[in-house]
């Protein structure tokens, strides 16, 4: 019994690592294609059919690029920082149930690596450890642009951790459990029992915070190339930069899975669509939404970001918690 669990967990971990690394690469392709079509360009189209092998070309380029470390950089910190981003992004996935249980060769597989009963807390906690990646990278690079990027990491990610945590409190009060599987099962009653209908404000707040935490476009101040060259990643090249990239896209997937699990009914069957497909569709739509906003919306200034966080979103989240509390009390 013991050994079978260990083997199963190792296999699951490898599968998650492999699948999401590949997906992260594939999302860069999708992102470029979607952005291109929204701006009426073609995107990658010459390497392979429809430019699909562009992924491989980019990968080869990243692998063979010179691994450059600036002279005055704090070498060990500089070298570890991208690993923190990539590692935490994947560690956070260990408590996310990706699919409903299914049977494979008469063996019931539960597609979650570790079913901890504080799943949401674990995911949010590990994801927030991930902010050390950009922060340390920015501080260790011996570059003023990187330092600015690091400082922006601190203000942006720390602030929006508050918003996302508070926004999640209200639905968690309704469900009464921190386990993502429990939250999913709470919405088992079909389309109308989705938490987005009872917690619309929390949904909006969490998605906005998700944009900020995954460093996506309206809030990508960390590496805003129009202002601070490439932010914390200015001095990075080759595979270290690639690890930041993979970590960022893995985080994107984690956030999309969290939003679908907590607010959009998770992996419950949707009308005639089986649960496994339903959650894939939801996540795909959310990913598309993230790319869509990148093509549509402008960046905002750091002061506007902080103003939005502390003067608008945080009070709204607190009010939402209060209202939810009163509704549950009476």
């Amino acid at each position: 019994m013991e050994t079978s669990i260990i083997i199963e967990t190792i296999i699951k971990a490898i599968v998650v690592l492999a699948v999401f690394s590949a997906l992260a690469g594939f999302t860069t392709y999708i992102e470029r294609k979607v952005l291109a079509y929204m701006q009426r360009r073609l995107g990658p189209s010459n390497v392979g059919p429809y430019g699909l092998l562009q992924l491989v070309a980019d990968g080869i380029k990243l692998f063979t690029k010179e691994d450059f470390i600036p002279q005055n950089a704090a070498r060990p910190v500089f070298m570890i920082a991208p690993i923190i981003t990539a590692a935490t992004a994947f560690i956070a996935m260990s408590a996310v149930p990706f699919f409903p249980e299914f049977e494979l060769f008469g063996y019931v597989v539960r597609p979650i690596i570790a079913d901890v009963n504080v799943g949401v807390l674990f995911v949010l906690g590990v994801a927030s450890v991930g902010l050390y990646g950009p922060l340390l990278a920015g501080m260790s690079s011996a570059n003023k642009w990187s330092l600015l990027g690091g400082a922006r990491t601190a203000i942006q990610l720390l602030s929006y951790e508050v918003v996302s945590g508070l926004a999640l409190l209200a639905p968690l009060m309704l469900v009464g459990s921190l386990s993502l599987i429990d939250i999913n099962n709470y919405q088992a009653g079909g389309f109308t029992s989705w938490l987005i209908w009872s917690q619309p404000l929390a949904f909006i707040l969490f998605v906005i915070a998700g944009f900020a935490e995954t460093n996506r476009t309206p809030f990508d101040l960390l590496e805003h190339e129009a202002e601070i060259v490439a932010g914390y990643a200015t001095e990075y090249s080759g595979l270290r930069w690639g690890m930041f990239f993979i970590g960022e896209y893995a985080n994107l997937f984690t956030v999309c899975f969290l939003v679908s699990l907590i607010f959009l009914g998770g992996f419950n069957d949707l009308w005639f669509i089986p649960g496994g497909l339903a959650i894939v569709l939801k996540v795909m739509f959310l990913i598309f939404f993230f790319l869509w906003t990148r093509a549509s919306w402008p960046h905002i200034r750091p002061d506007q970001l902080m103003w939005l966080c502390w003067k608008i979103l945080m009070p709204l989240a607190v009010i939402n918690i209060l209202i939810t509390g009163f509704v549950m009390m009476f």
Binding site: V34, R40, S296, W297
Partner: protein, 207 residues
């Protein structure tokens, strides 16, 4: 505006009225009103709608802005002044240039050099004709002044080569014999008129 106002050069001391100025909110209440208005207006979703329609049209109606450059090229203007061409006589494929030297004379950047001699038929023959592409400013005077329409500006705008000299020598500029049927005649002063065949009269020796 009267003439007096127009002549007034004392512009530094006037009060100007800015044509377009936003009405910035002044009190906190107005700021709050502006925030609520902008939040509930759904402008962000209008932006999303526009980009989505762009994508829909790009995908299903083929409305693209991209030109796949080496594979397809945009047409350039017919009067575009690109790298020169020396036109050849249609019948013989001989150099149309009569060696008058006007282009050499008019060239304001002194980049055209020609070398001529009187051949055994006591006609002027062009030995060497070069254009220094490093100096040429593509003003078009040489093509303008040529009485025979022998030197014209061609359509070759991709000026990438291993050496500048690749464009400049007579044998590169002159239309080669096998491409003679592709040579396009230029209209203008000195050109053969379109109805030249009807106008032409036989010389006495023909009778």
């Amino acid at each position: 505006m009267g003439l007096e106002e127009f002549k007034d050069r004392n512009i530094g001391v006037k009060n100007y009225i800015t044509v377009q100025d936003d009405n910035y909110p002044k009190t906190n209440g107005e700021v709050f009103k502006q925030i609520v208005k902008r939040s509930l207006k759904g402008e962000l979703f209008t932006g999303l709608k526009i980009t989505f329609n762009m994508m829909r049209e790009a995908l299903f109606k083929g409305k693209m802005h991209t030109v796949q450059y080496p594979a397809e090229k945009l047409p350039i203007g017919p009067r575009y002044r690109a790298v020169h061409k020396l036109l050849a006589l249609l019948e013989s494929g001989e150099n149309r240039c009569i060696g008058c030297g006007l282009c050499e004379k008019i060239c304001i950047s002194n980049c055209i050099k020609m070398d001529t001699k009187i051949d055994e038929n006591s006609r002027k023959e062009v030995l060497e004709y070069t254009i220094n592409m490093g100096r040429c400013i593509f003003c078009g005077y040489c093509a303008e002044v040529c009485p025979e329409l022998a030197i014209v500006h061609g359509q070759r705008y991709e000026n990438a080569s291993e050496q500048r000299a690749h464009f400049a020598l007579k044998e590169d500029l002159l239309t080669p014999l096998d491409k003679l049927h592709l040579q396009k005649e230029y209209e203008g002063f000195g050109a053969v008129s379109p109805d030249a065949d009807e106008k032409i009269q036989k010389t006495p020796l023909q009778y």
